[in-house]
Each structure stands twice: as C-alpha cells, then as structure tokens.
C-alpha cells in the first residue's frame, strides 16, 4: 500500500515537473517580444487564417475533381469493360480516405488557430506560445495531407500508364 502510494507520488511529481517545464519553455526575451508585438502577431495570424481558408477551398475543389471526375469514373469504366484492377481501386479508396482526412485535419487546425487568435497574448504570453506550438503541429498535419494527395494522384498516373501498356 505504502509502495503504491510512493509510486503514485513520484508519477504525480513527474507530471507536475513536465507541465511546469512545458509552460516555462519560453525565454524572457521571447515573452517580451510576444507582449510587445501582440497586435502585430495577431494580425499576421488572421491573415494566415484567411489565406488558409482560400487554399482549402481551392485544393478541396480540385481534390474532389480528381477523385470524382477522373479516378472514380475510370474505375467504373474499367468495371464495365471487365478490366477492373485492384490496385486502381485501392488507389481510389486511399484518395477518398486522404481527402476526408484533409478536411478533418483542416478543421482541427482552424479550431486551434481560432483559439490562438482569441487569446490575449499580452496577458498570457507563455500560454499563447504553448498554443502556437500546438497550432504548428496541426498545420503540419494539413500540409502532410496535401503532400499525400499529390503522391496518390501521381501514383494513379503511374498505374494508368501500366494499365495502358498491358491493354
């Protein structure tokens, strides 16, 4: 019982230290810069938010075109001609899944970014910086989705070229 309590205290202590270390992961110089440039930083974030909304609409509509007007249409036609290929079907499924993930990660990122913009960086510069780090991670996930979609579209070209050679 005593041992269990000691282990619990150690874990609690570690969690506390880790939390404190995270909050303190900002230098005084950085803290002052955030407080001094608070409005400027927020304006930049709002501009990024607007530009990102534009990028999502642009990319989202083109991803939809690639998926529904090309990849899916080709697979339907292949089935009709009894030439259905499992690798092309897999590619279509992966494209659909990645497109869906792109929308989900974008919404997660925008939620986090909105919370960051709503924070008062003059009052809570440390928490603001912590949130900024988290927003960076979410943005990176969206960027990864963009790369993955491109990769899959290029793969589709390769698969169709192979199909053409074996027709």
């Amino acid at each position: 019982m005593k041992n269990k309590f000691s282990v619990f205290c150690i874990i609690l202590g570690l969690v506390f230290c880790f939390s404190v270390a995270n909050v303190m992961a900002i230098s005084e110089k950085q803290e002052n810069a955030i407080v001094d440039n608070c409005e400027k930083i927020k304006d930049s974030l709002k501009n990024i938010q607007k530009a990102d909304a534009k990028a999502r609409v642009f990319l989202g509509s083109h991803y939809e075109t690639v998926l529904s007007k090309y990849v899916t249409s080709l697979n339907v036609r292949l089935v009709e001609n009894n030439l259905s290929k499992s690798n092309l079907i897999d590619n279509q499924n992966e494209l659909a899944k990645t497109k869906e993930a792109f929308s989900t990660t974008f919404v997660d990122y925008q939620k986090e970014l909105e919370e960051l913009v709503a924070m008062d960086c003059r009052v809570e510069p440390e928490k603001f910086y912590e949130k900024l780090i988290s927003v960076r991670v979410k943005r990176k996930n969206v960027a990864l989705g963009v790369s993955k979609m491109r990769e899959l579209a290029i793969k589709n070209i390769k698969l169709v070229k192979d199909l053409k050679e074996n027709l």
Binding site: I26, S27, E28, K29, Q30, A33, I34, N37, K40, I41, S44, L45, K46, I48, K50, A53, K54, A55, R56, V57, F58, L59, G60, H62, Y63, T65, V66, K69, Y70, S73, L74, V76, R77, E80, N81, S103, T104, F106, V107, Q110, K111, E114, Y129, L132, V135, R136, R139, V142, A143, V146, R150, A153, I154, N156, I157, V160, K161, L163, K164, L167
Partner: protein, 114 residues
C-alpha cells in the same frame, strides 16, 4: 386583459423563445461540427474580387466518361487531363507552408533558454 389576449401574448413570447433556442442550437451545431471553418461566406472570409473573376473565366471542366470502350487513346486523354489538373493544384504556391508560423515570421526571437 382578456383570456384571449393573454393567450396571444403567451403565444408570441413562446414563439420568440423557441426561435432563440433553435437559433442557438443551429449555431452550436454549425460551430461544433467544424462547418464554420469550411464556410467562406462568413464575414472576413469572403472571396476577393480577383477570385470571383477567376471563377467567372473558368472554362467548362473535363470529366472522364464512365461509359464506353477503353483504348490506348482514351487512356492517353485521361492521363493528359489528369496531369493538367495536377499542374493546376501544383500552381498554388506553398499551401499551408509551415514557415509562416515560425518564430521568425511572427517576429518572436529565436529560442534562447536561460
């Protein structure tokens, strides 16, 4: 006030209350579902004039037919149009560039732990 008049007032107040509750619920769903972040018709996110002009100029989009036979020529046409579509996607300069949120871009000095 007559009973009919009182009932009329109650009906009016009740309707207004229901309208408020329904609007609140709709806004909560709109926000929590994340649709708000995909909606460009909200203030501050409306497309600018240039974008609207681009939309108007946009040619009719190609769509690969779901029916018909398949030949090398048909697949060549598919590949040609798909490559063009990917080029359009690539023309969007650095979407979600991670550098934009860097300390440097936001005017925060580099980490300098004391």
């Amino acid at each position: 006030m007559t009973t009919g008049g009182r009932n009329l007032v109650l009906l009016g107040v009740g309707s207004i209350l229901i309208a408020f509750i329904m609007t609140g619920v709709s806004l909560a769903v709109y926000h929590n579902s994340g649709d708000i972040y995909l909606d460009r018709s909200r203030p501050g996110f409306l497309p600018d004039e240039e974008e609207l002009k681009e939309e108007e100029v946009k040619e009719e989009e190609y769509e690969f037919s779901k029916t018909g036979t398949l030949s090398e020529e048909v697949l060549d046409e598919y590949l040609k149009h798909l490559k063009e579509e990917i080029e359009i996607i690539d023309s969007y300069e650095e979407p979600f560039n991670t550098g934009l949120l860097s300390d440097e871009s936001l005017g925060i000095p580099a980490e300098d732990k004391e």
